[in-house]
Symmetry: D4
Subunit: 203 residues, 8 copies
């Protein structure tokens, strides 16, 4: 059984360890509850599509771009959130993706305040979480994607890193090119085969 104290100790220890940058995760993905995992898995998918690897063992980090995943609850485990966010820079994170649901989706905002100036991409897990995630006061920045769009949060995190990384920028362009061919293809089929052949069968 792992306790909140165990995890706080782990974050403090890692922060003090002064690992070289290529051994620390580039992106941290956190969510307020394990029930958010299916929605937040889009960040995993986008980062994986861009060649990132999930770092699951601090003592045995993979090479290349990496990210890590944690459940951190603002309201149920406030001290865990505090430790995660305050130690983020020292643990080598460059960008954090934070998702939360409900109407008081405080995790992204509080993490943005505590981990500042590391940029945090807020992911409202539900539609009703959007106002709470986006509504930060002047002087306390966060930027957010739309409700449930964790895949876009993964792309955005990579875009932030790519401002000085042409390799990553190229990967982002390649991913977009593949997506565009898919649209063109279905468009050509709709036009040449006609609406009735592609629509769902009518009852």
């Amino acid at each position: 059984m792992t306790t909140v104290s165990d995890l706080i100790d782990l974050f403090e220890t890692e922060a003090a360890a002064d690992h070289p940058p290529d051994e620390t995760p580039d992106v941290g993905v956190i969510m307020g509850s394990d029930s958010d995992l299916d929605v937040m898995a889009g960040a995993h998918d986008a980062l994986t599509d861009l060649g990132f690897t999930e770092l699951t063992d601090y003592d045995d980090p993979p090479t290349g771009y990496t990210f890590e995943s944690w459940v951190v609850s603002a309201h149920r485990t406030p001290t865990l959130m505090d430790a995660y966010a305050r130690t983020a820079a020292a643990r080598g994170l460059d960008v954090i993706i934070a998702g939360a649901g409900g109407k008081s989706a405080d995790l992204p905002n509080m993490t943005a305040s505590l981990a500042y100036p590391i940029p945090v991409v807020g992911v409202p897990v539900q539609e009703k979480s959007v106002p709470s995630v986006i509504g930060m006061p002047t002087g306390a920045p966060i930027t957010a994607v739309d409700a449930g769009k964790s895949y876009n949060a993964g792309l955005a995190a990579a875009q932030f890193l790519a401002t000085d990384d042409p390799t990553l920028a190229d990967r982002l362009r390649d991913l977009q090119a593949a997506r565009q061919e898919g649209v063109a293809d279905v468009s050509a089929r709709l036009h040449s085969q006609g609406t009735d052949s592609l629509r769902s069968p009518q009852n």
Copy 2:
């Protein structure tokens, strides 16, 4: 068959009986309709988790912290609501949890006005009930939890009682500690096993 008059008589009788405090319910849980029961059962669950017992027979009350449950409709049985709320203090109640659904969720508000100064925790049974429950005018206080969060209403009722009761405060802390360990445990598993191992199977 029980009638509204029977219940009004019962409340008046109990109010006049002058039972000693340890034989009267500490918390009253009321709801506007029996169709609200599944939503409101969270109050029962929280109070039970904290060691409260449901009092079902005024002549044979359990020992320790207790609560009682009633269906009281503001719009269909306004005289029953009036009797329940006006006699609440005399019947020994310290806190009332009142839940109602629909857009005119008047039960919590009217109960708060009639039972004042006993604190009433309003529970909007549906999302659309929130404005009606929370929107009391200045001078007529109510405090409310979020839609459907009757479990939190049970915790809040206990928090009010715990302001002068260290034993109850400790029970509240113990319950929170157990909850936090659950978060820490799933968080550690997500991190070490990775997103793909915990997410739902994809179609």
Copy 3:
């Protein structure tokens, strides 16, 4: 010039001082910004109407019921919020009234999580703050008043304390009685003088 560190030190010192209960504030009133003060002053007014005195000097506390006021920003001074809330119980507070504006009104919620099991009355300073203040997940309770109703928050805080304090309960009843006479009086005037004599002059 006072710094955030100065205030954190002050809260830690007071928490360690172990003052007797009658020298510590009963109610803490906090708000996210000094621009919230006019809205939040209603809590001051209600508590003052009930005979509470504002405690402004920890070394020279007034006698009787007391409250204190602070500006604490969740997003701009997260460490100050953390210190205020974590030390609240040790500093002798029994109830906290926390108000915040905007769409990410996290101060009441985070304070409720950190100061638990002390009950926190959330005050949404603006209408758009209501969802964020009220929307806590199961297991992390808060109760809230309506937007801007800090006067009612003051009454509610007193109601919580009055569950075991007949003197305070009587003060609450007296305040209500005075309010009711005002309604009866204007009602009698409207009826006997007619609508035209009391309505605003028409253009």
Copy 4:
């Protein structure tokens, strides 16, 4: 100074007095606060336009159609509301117009439940009062006009009475005819004089 008890006594006394129908008010106009008076005065205006007289002295009622006006607060004076509504039928009222503001606009609903089967026209004093006024559960009827449309509530009350009163129906038709001529006249002027001659001066 008039007290709530004075007014409750008055309503009980009038109910017991068994006045002949032509000496009692046909329509009761009540509102939750004197601050609602300017919005609610439209009911007075519509009824006056239809030839109703405001009854201001139970001992000296005017002849013909009459109405009365009172301030009754559901949340601040619940016992006054109860007395007003329960005695309404015995006091000779045929229709009640009830207006209230805020998000918990309970006065119309509770009055409809307590005065049943007398029809109650609910007037939401503010836009945000609409859901609370209209949202009654099945079995507890109310009908409502739009926010602030107390003039229409006055017309509607007369429509209810006119279902068996051809004189009143004719008055309603005459009032509409006058209104229609106003529309026709401004329409003819717009068409013949052109948009530029009737629009507001542009800056």
Copy 5:
């Protein structure tokens, strides 16, 4: 096959026929589409519970209180709506219940304007229909029930008629009394058997 012209002719013929009042329907129930029938059937149920009979043949009307039902679409059959509403008074109707769905639920409003001064109870068939049904301008009254509450519309229509009909008023009171006993009975069972025995089985 019946055409719109057939129905318009029928309404004009009936209006000219000058039937005695006890042979014409007291209440007209109209709806914008046959897809609204299940929602609008509540009006049928309430009127039936009060002893009304559905009139289905103008040449063979039932005795006692009666109502009739029609599908009339404001947007698809505007001339049919016009004929129905303009002839309503001459055809002997005293109250109309009109339901429509969608965001442009014009049927109740247009019928209220055309059938004036006959009172029209608007029934928004969907939640999104409420603003359109209730939002009439000053001088053009309608009163409405909540979305889908056609049962209450049936009760309200009877309340309008009962302002001068003690027999109908008594039927309304009897119906309410039966409903209240149901609430009292389930309330007594909840209290004495406890929450766990009445709640739905938990998974």
Copy 6:
């Protein structure tokens, strides 16, 4: 004084007159109230910018593209609306622009149903009028512009006419070109002069 009957007679007379197309108005602009005139004047402005002339006297029509303006209330003058819309085609109108305010903005919809198949551009005069204007059921078409955008309604009416009129299409293009130069010019000034020189003075 002009009456509703006068106007209905006028519309019927004009419909029967069989004027040649170049003597009848191309576009009809109607609004529910003269209080809507300032919002609806944008249609006048757009049409005037495109070279249309307002036709104010049926016996002395201007040459070239023309439009006419009327006040027509769906709820206060339903028979006038009916006459205007039913005779529109016979009176030579090609497009109707109809604006209405409030939450029951029925004028555009009912006009679209009655004047069909003439296209009607609905103009919601207020934000809250949008759902009512746009929400027509399948089979009863209307198209609408955004709240208050009557200028765009004027452009759209011209676009409909321009589908077979290259001259009018060119005028639409010229108007757009002029608008674009305005944007380019202010853009160049912002870039070269800098933000501080163009922003409003700060207090």
Copy 7:
């Protein structure tokens, strides 16, 4: 496999080909994603009901009224949207129906700006797409139908073309006449058979 470049080339080639008007599509139907097809197929159905044929091969166009269908994504294939809209006039299109879902439903708006002065009928594919589709600034016109009402968009496109085409106007009238008979028929059945015989079976 078709690429975005292939389609852009196709549109440019067609624009340069200068086909005679009776060989080019009259109406273009575009949508942001193939997942919108079932909602957008209503445009196909309305146009087909009016005798239009879907043009699926530019080299072998059908005779009579025609329309074409394409998938064009504003956000995923912005250059494809640009090419489609800019070449629309040269390719002979008279009206465009553009549908998009989500909260940033930019396709209809951007197409309206780029294809101007060709009229564009915007179709919000989801309720939440309405504000984005309808909300164009002054000077950049679009008209829109309600969410999901692509059938009405097809009718509206035909109405625009019918302003100078009596044949098409007659087809629109015939389609409406058939629809009205359906309403009259079900109305007659409801009235004569009664509510209970047509409502859904009750459980």
Copy 8:
């Protein structure tokens, strides 16, 4: 007078010029209208507070961190928007801040699609612009700040650049530290002077 073509030519020329990175703007600030300038000036203020200089002459760029400002309208000048966004990378921009108002705030989204993979911070200029700015589909990323929070957009743009720039990260920390002292100071004053001394004078 500058034309849209002039600006498009300028952007193409600059893109071809291949300036060294330290002579090109780091951040581009664009807005849909010059009426958005006062809201968008916050980006200027934040960047200036961090030591950025506004670049107003491509031939004479300032040293150090720079940004540029332009008015670009998605709906009124779509070709200008296209040119600005497509050439952004070649012109050396690293981040774009794009603000737009209204309900169809397409500028940030379309710019994000066209300038990809450059990260775009969307600024909804009005509350009603939030859904349109944030609502991008999967695969087309944007991140956004809250309505009107252009100051935070400026901070966020710097945070993105600071992921690999410790100097800029330090400036961000210094700015936050100054802000926190302001909160602490006013908090200390409120506590020691009391509510009445700091609140606004009451009437």
